[in-house]
């Protein structure tokens, strides 16, 4: 890897350290050694990290890629891995795992055609604007075509599984968890952060309390919410009784179960958004806000023109990190609903986990790889289109 990182260009901070020209007329050998060590600083600083990531990330990545292309069998004195090509992936898209993975598709209805049409139109406009306004490069073109195709396919899947007779597969369920979850976490985190940076007595107390959910181990949160949402022994039993729902179990209703999991997820991860946004809000300079207040700007104008642009870049990093983490949700559905009813609350990681538990390691790795593609897809869109644009406009 050294060779890949070679020649760190004379750094951005480009000032030759004056090797004490005035004190010693002739630079000693020690000084040349020090100078050369200093020149290596670029490599020294990043090398340990790159090495660690290579050793412990690339190897498992490639190993599980191979496993996803193979069939795992327990054999005498260990196991065997037989290369089967794309069989495991084929199973997910057109074979026996299809309804589990992609969901069962309802026949098209006018509504699904309308939604699909609108999204396709939007994507077409996006492509057309690219062709008309900017110079077309191969990388940009391929990226945008992939984006259009990917989003189009995902929309097609969602409009046929979200309503009517369709059932969500693990892909769509994961997307619901990720996007609904992050949306509410961000909105709640931002509003709470705005409230606690005000000059209110007791705000430190609120800040520490609001941090608490993040501190609990995810497995613990999952069990805690299973206790809380129990309709016959949980604390909300009287409410369920009053509503006549005591025999109704949210576990048996697909959207009920998903909502419960989403609530737990939002409860646990809003603090992450909250605390970083508090830090961002506190660090923005006071003077522009004061000046705007003097000039008679109302709070909404101050937020829109001063605060919002200041916290936008942080928000982008924050959402990217949460996006990556949220795709890996597994503890909550596993503990709260066991993935039920049926497969309704299973996320992609949970899907991989089930295959893994059934010792079908090949299929498990294939699901994990599809998840990797999905996260990379959204991560790339986010970093290259949204984040870039937002940061550039500032």
């Amino acid at each position: 890897m050294t060779s890949e990182l070679q020649e760190p260009q004379p750094s951005r901070l480009h000032i030759e350290p004056m090797t004490s020209e005035f004190e010693e007329p002739q630079p000693s050998r020690l000084h040349t050694v020090i100078a050369s060590v200093d020149r290596l600083a670029g490599s020294v600083f990043i090398f340990p990290t790159v090495l660690a990531l290579l050793l412990l990330s690339i190897f498992p990545l490639l190993a599980s890629l191979y496993v996803s292309l193979a069939r795992f069998k327990i054999a005498k004195g260990g196991f065997t891995l037989n290369f089967v090509g794309l069989d495991n992936y084929q199973k997910l898209f057109i074979g026996s795992e299809r309804t589990h993975f992609l969901g069962s598709f309802a026949p098209s209805t006018p509504l699904s055609w309308i939604v699909f049409g609108v999204i396709v139109m939007a994507l077409a406009i996006f492509l057309a604007r690219y062709f008309l306004n900017t110079r077309v490069s191969i990388g940009g073109l391929v990226g945008r075509l992939l984006l259009t195709l990917g989003l189009g396919a995902l929309t097609w899947m969602l409009v046929h599984t979200l309503w009517g007779d369709g059932r969500l597969g693990t892909v769509s369920t994961t997307l619901v968890y990720v996007f609904v979850g992050i949306f509410f976490q961000y909105i709640l985190g931002l509003s709470l952060a705005m409230l606690t940076v005000q000059n209110l007595p007791g705000r430190r107390f609120f800040r520490v309390v609001f941090l608490l959910p993040m501190m609990i181990t995810p497995v613990g949160v999952a069990y805690m919410f299973r206790m809380l949402t129990d309709t016959s022994k949980g604390p909300f039993t009287p409410i369920w009784q009053a509503l006549g729902l005591v025999d109704f179990s949210w576990v048996n209703n697909a959207w009920g179960a998903r909502t419960a999991i989403l609530i737990a997820d939002i409860w646990q991860w809003t603090p992450f958004m909250f605390i970083v946004l508090v830090a961002a809000l506190e660090s923005q300079p006071v003077e522009p806000v004061e000046a705007a207040t003097v000039d008679g700007a109302n709070p909404w104008q101050i937020f829109q023109h001063i605060t919002w642009p200041a916290i936008l870049p942080v928000s982008m990093t924050l959402i990217l990190i949460r996006l990556i983490e949220a795709f890996k949700i597994v503890d909550l559905p596993n503990v709260m609903t066991n993935g039920g009813p049926g497969t309704a609350t299973q996320s992609l990681t949970y899907h991989a986990f089930i295959n893994w538990r059934g010792l079908d390691l090949g299929a498990s790795a294939a699901v994990a790889y599809m998840l990797l593609f999905l996260v990379t897809f959204f991560g790339m869109i986010f970093v290259n289109l949204i984040r870039q644009r937002v940061v550039e406009t500032l």
Binding site: E4, T49, I58, F59, P60, S64, L192, G220, I321
Partner: protein
């Protein structure tokens, strides 16, 4: 009347705004604290009190008992609890600290140096690594596979690798690093297990620490990168003119200035390692088990032991809460991720 809607300064809300703020904050605090209250009273219940339906107030609704606490802390489970608690106390802060050291140096490097890794070199490297991995899976001894793959890599790099002059930039490296967190742990856990088995490191602190450090490095790098880039470069230039080396600049200028950011990042990483479950499940058995495993183990064949579980969860969050209260002033001040360089 108008006075109620008027605020004194830009940061102090009007009386009405103040009441509204307290109402919303109080409501959210209630939403946070009620589940924790339920944990506390469940930890004071015995099994029949949980099974017979909801009881809300100790001494009023039900007679609290310390059975679960005794069971966990001095009774049958005390050995497990203390052992795993000690393990967690060793593993989590150590890995958080190591990740912080490695990650912040890399973050500094990504902000202040320019790297131009060449596409050709990277592709040959990945190809050779893939070849090596496949060879090992097919049964070639790993020493031979490694040597051959390295040899091929060096040869190809000198010949074909030089033809691709296209290079990547710092942002690509950063994205590569964060992408290492994208694969779900369930997919990497088996290769990692096999890796540590070969190295005879299973069920040791070392294995857990190495895994945690690498899996948390990307987060440290991303948070610290934003932070380091807000440190004015003039300070470093002054030091460089005075003859300080890059290491000296990093150690005596960048790190002290970045302390608030470091503290906040440390807290995040500590929380992640402290609570990690899946990797610990695979990499530890008797010696290095951590606390989350004990919590999950309370879901016995007789059904979840809610009271024990509650005690364990409470025991587990207390140290983190203490640390969070100590570090709170740093976090809010410190995590001033300024302008994010795209």
């Amino acid at each position: 009347m108008k006075r109620w809607f008027q605020s004194k300064s830009y940061n102090t809300p009007s009386p009405v705004g103040r009441v509204l703020s307290y109402l919303i904050l109080g409501f959210w605090a209630l939403l946070i604290l009620f589940p924790l209250y339920w944990l506390i009273i469940t930890s004071l219940k015995i099994s029949s009190q949980v099974a017979e339906g909801p009881f809300y107030l100790p001494f009023v609704d039900f007679k609290p008992s310390l059975d679960a606490w005794k069971y966990i802390l001095v009774g049958d489970l005390s050995n497990d609890t203390l052992r795993t608690f000690k393990n967690t106390l060793i593993v989590a802060p150590t890995s958080a600290l190591l990740a912080l050291i490695l990650g912040s140096t890399a973050a500094y490097a990504l902000v202040r140096f320019e790297y131009r890794p060449r596409v050709g070199a990277i592709l040959t490297f990945i190809g050779c690594l893939a070849l090596g991995v496949v060879a090992i899976f097919l049964g070639v001894p790993w020493t031979i596979a490694l040597t051959v793959a390295t040899a091929i890599f060096i040869i190809l790099l000198q010949t074909i690798g030089r033809r691709f002059q296209r290079a990547l930039g710092n942002n690509d490296i950063a994205f590569w690093m964060i992408s290492q967190r994208m694969l779900p742990p369930i997919a990497v856990v088996i290769p990692i297990y096999i890796l540590f088995q070969r190295l005879h490191l299973l069920d040791t602190y070392t294995a857990l620490i190495i895994t945690y450090v690498t899996s948390n490095l990307p987060i440290v790098i991303w948070l610290m990168r934003d932070y380091v880039s807000t440190i004015p470069i003039e300070l470093e230039e002054c030091a460089a003119i005075d003859g300080a080396s890059r290491y000296r600049i990093f150690w005596s200028i960048v790190l002290p200035l970045a302390i608030p950011g470091l503290v906040a990042t440390f807290l995040f990483v500590l929380v992640f390692t402290w609570n990690e479950y899946l990797l610990a499940l695979f990499l530890s058995s008797a010696n290095s088990q951590t606390l989350p495993l004990v919590i999950a183990a309370q879901n016995a064949t007789r059904g979840p032991q809610w009271w024990n579980m509650s005690v364990l969860i409470l025991i587990m969050i207390i140290p983190v809460i203490v640390i969070a209260i100590i570090l709170e002033r740093y976090i809010t001040r410190g995590l001033l991720i300024g302008a994010v360089k795209g």
